[in-house]
Symmetry: C2
Amino acid sequence: MNLRHLRCFIAVAEELHFGRAARRLHIEQSPLSRTIRQMEADLGVPLLNRLPRSVRLTPAGQVFLEEARRVLLAFEQAQTKARAAANQRNTLRIALLIRPQ
Amino acid sequence: MNLRHLRCFIAVAEELHFGRAARRLHIEQSPLSRTIRQMEADLGVPLLNRLPRSVRLTPAGQVFLEEARRVLLAFEQAQTKARAAANQRNTLRIALLIRPQ
DNA sequence: CATAATTACGTTCGTCGTAACCATA
DNA sequence: TATGGTTACGACGAACGTAATTATG
């Protein structure tokens, strides 16, 4: 499983509709369906109740939705903080250039 | 970037040695090197100082190491909690079977 | 010369999109 | 019959391993 899987699941869980979620993700319904299926197989847990005309979250799906959001948030923070740390270093350098000693 | 990239980076950052990290990940040095390079390109930030005979973390690398660990931890929790939630449901069902009403 | 990381290249696996399919309302 | 989700299948891209390359100590 992957961050891609998490993003796909979040989209479906929020839209409760594969078509809309696919449009939001800029992919087709077909690969989206497969991605969710694969995720459920990996977890060994059904995340969605697929009714012929509607989609609902299972209790496990509800839990996983919240946790998946935490993962993506942590990932974005990781990127942001690493870039900030690199810029911090540049800022120090620039400060030293402006006022050497 | 991906969870795979994070796992690779953590291994290199902890070993400070591509060869050992590759063995630990059960892949070869070559794809590992590419993976780290790609990650740095994605971030736009160098994470490692590569000296001909040694590897060190940049300040950004240090920060990213901690954050990457948080991401993987969150991901493992997501899996664990989703499975627990599914089992919770089964446990309830079993309880009802044992003691119906 | 030995060691450590990187690039070149061919193969394998994953992901996509198009199209066909099934099942309801 | 229209809609929504799922499989079938071929094409493209990503990741791997082997092997050759570069560069220090």
